[in-house]
Symmetry: C2
DNA sequence: ATGAAACATGAATCAGTATTCATGTTTATT
DNA sequence: AATAAACATGAATACTGATTCATGTTTCAT
């Protein structure tokens, strides 16, 4: 475990790591069922019974792999964070110009959100179920974002301005548009959303 | 109703409207206690017992004024919506220039959020507890926002661009900065946040 | 002043559901 | 093929907490 290669937080030990292929598969099935069920019903309405029956295992099996209901939830939030950051990093890593990277990153984020609406809602709910995971999720983002903006400013690719506040504002834009897709089911195609947002981010709205 | 003047939604009948001054006071006490308790602990952790004891009344008294736990929650979300819209409308109504109005509105919003952190968290949680109230909250905002942007565009006060998407993006910025205050407890003074955000909104970040 | 409507009480009900556990079954190693 | 460790089961436990209700108390119109 602790996956050399990525090196994520080494703190808390998971309930139980599977030691055979069968166990591995069962754990994954439960995690994936939890994503769907919690994403759809919310944390409180989603019972262990719902999750295990969706996963096709007995109720007690859940506790072989997770200590508590909250633990599986936290794991989902962490996974969401890793996936999103990875997706965005992939989409932007070869782009030198910051403004172009901004556009590509936003687009990749929105595609991801549309493909994983459950994970999106789970992160929202983390504010109440697991506040620390929630803060970590956004703080990890903000760290990278701010660093990118500072570098771009130093390189003269963007104008001067407080990188931290800008990072939060830009994340807010992405989040709001993601919510359009997942919660409000807008008809607008992602490229249109990205185009409008990009124009706002690059040029502002002054005449 | 699309809000002529005040005229809020007349649809659903509340559990029970008080008919005496005493009842009025008790109902208000419960509602206010609910705001504090639910805001602090979240919907699920906040029990009726917590709320009534915070309000200084017996448990059964709750059900004289509210049919269910969910009903008091929904009422809080509605109240939050009314208050925020009212606050922003007040702060911007005498400002002709759209960009200036944007700045004043954002500032008023952030001050409000700082003064009512509980209400802010309650709206977030509505996505799971009462999704319809959540959508109404943001849709009501968006309606006004979009109309304002369209008018400003027609008047040549801002550049051309899709008003709906812009409205969502700008709301996203406000929301993200509000979260900075309430969830992440930033040290930055509100005027600094507003200044950075305003520069972004007006001019963008291109060099 | 008085009776009916409003309001208030808090103990009892009732249901849901997270978690545990005693008991089997499967897998991997020898 | 035998055995210990892993894995799986689902019924039983244990507890929480929303809602109800039978019984007072207060308010107010007459």
């Amino acid at each position: 475990m602790r996956t050399a290669g990525q090196a994520e937080a080494p703190q808390k030990v998971p309930g139980n790591q599977p030691k055979t292929a069968r166990g591995e598969a069962t754990r994954k099935a439960i995690l994936s069922a939890a994503e769907r069920v919690i994403g759809a019903k919310g944390y409180n309405e989603a019972s262990i019974g719902h999750i295990t029956s969706e996963a096709g295992v007995a109720q007690g099996t859940f506790y072989i792999y997770f200590k508590t209901k909250e633990e599986v939830f936290s794991e989902l939030v962490l996974e969401m964070g890793r996936l999103v950051r990875h997706t965005i990093a992939d989409a932007t890593q070869n782009i030198q110009n910051r403004l172009e990277a901004e556009k590509a990153g936003l687009s990749a984020f929105l595609e991801f959100v549309r493909a994983h609406p459950d994970l999106y809602r789970i992160v929202q709910e983390a504010l109440f179920v697991d506040p620390e995971a929630y803060r970590e999720y956004y703080t990890a983002f903000e760290d990278g974002y701010r660093a990118g903006l500072s570098a771009a400013e130093a390189a003269g690719q963007i104008s001067a301005g407080d990188a931290e506040t800008r990072a939060w504002a830009l994340m807010g834009i992405a989040r709001a548009l993601g919510e359009q897709l997942v919660v409000f089911n807008t008809e607008k195609p992602i490229p249109d959303l990205v185009a409008t947002a990009y124009d706002l981010i690059a040029n502002g709205i002054k005449p």
